[in-house]
Amino acid sequence: MTSLSLLGLIFTQLYWIKSAIELSEKQFDHRVNLALSETVEKMVELDKQHRLQKRKFIPESCGSDLVSIINYIDTTLVDSLLKTEFDLFCLDTVYEFGIIQVKNDSVWMLNSGIYTKNIKNTKHKVCLDDLFKTDDYNLEVFFPQKRKFVLFELSVWMFISAGFLLIVISSFIFIVTAILKQKKLSEIKNDFINNMTHEFKTPISTISLASEVLLKNNLPEEKILKYSKVIFDENQRLKVQVERVLQMARLDKGNLKLKISEFDLHELIKDNVENLCLEHCNKPVSLIYQFYATNSVIKADKAHITNIITNLIDNASKYSYDNLRITISTKNVKTGVIITIKDNGIGITKDTLKHIFDKFYRVPTGNIHNVKGFGLGLNYVKMLVLAHSGTISVSSELKKGTAFKIFLPFTPLT
């Protein structure tokens, strides 16, 4: 609806501009005709004065024939007369003129050298019958830059109109994109809340159910142990989830403080990745290390860097096929280390790739949850890499695998 009325507005505006140009041209023609008749009057006046002065040489009876007029009316005179008049009527533009003999279409006087078609076809002509006592001669004027002149006269209004129109259009586009963005954001938030409630409710129900069972008397010893273990595990899970949400809130506030220390990246990777894979991956993993970096000692926040690496490894193992292979390679560049974590997992589509670092973003699958998560992991990874003044990039091919490339400087800028 809004876009329709905007289109209508544009069309109306264009129509107005068009009619303004037409009107302006008409006005221009009118002014030219006035100026021309004024010029002719002046010429006649001059002719009379001339006659008075030279009465004795040219008898009245002779009339004003061509020969006598030729003597004193020349191109410069006509030009200067025209110029004064045009200036008077504010017609400050280039013109060509000529005095044309209509009968045989021949040129008697011309300011532009050649008798151009333009002059022949011009609208602006005035009959010089008062001067020559015959209607055979026409003073014709042509304006090669008439359009330009008219447009220039209107240019201020056109610019203002175009400017406002542009503002209206751009703000319209801005509003529409903002609305779409908001809509998408609220969808994402909704998804996140749904997801979070589910992820929180599962352990809570498990704990409540398990404790209810425990409260029953005469349970065998092994059952009690089993249920206690379940309650402990689920509690742990809740703790991790709460921690994750809190961490996000902290990152959001922006008061992130890095505890910088010096450590060897290779050691950190080796220490953590193997533990992680033993703990979390419920499928066989082949880990390949390609440590090409000769200087792998960096200054950074050890805990966060560990989190970054474990997050990425965790993702690789979550979104994978059965024969998971993770390659971790490092190399040195001038100012730091590049770590590449590459897997042979399910890969990410191009459309999705743009969003994976967005907060709460999860590849939309509706209620089918093959992989549990909040959509916070990669957002966290990116925020922390940036906090270490590093960069992160990702490349992926569907069904082939994904590679994350992280650059960390030797010392983060403060």
């Binding site: 599962t202 352990p203 209620n367 089918i368 949850h369 093959n370």
Partner: protein
Amino acid sequence: MKKPKAKILLVEDDSNLSMVLKDYLEMQKYEVRLESDGEKGYQAFKNSKFDLCILDVMMPVKDGFTLAREIREMDEDVPIIFLR
């Protein structure tokens, strides 16, 4: 308990919750069949008769709502409970 045991189809992907829930229901003298994702739940329902279905919503392979719709197509009367 002279009535025959009611058969319950429980479809839940969280291992701890499903284990505890299964134990709990069995303690109440129900016969429980546990499946870990939507597709397996569908196969189980197709192959045998149940008196009650307890479904999770967010599951791998096939979500709870889809599964419920499919169960409804096969059986108009079986009560369905969602776990949320």
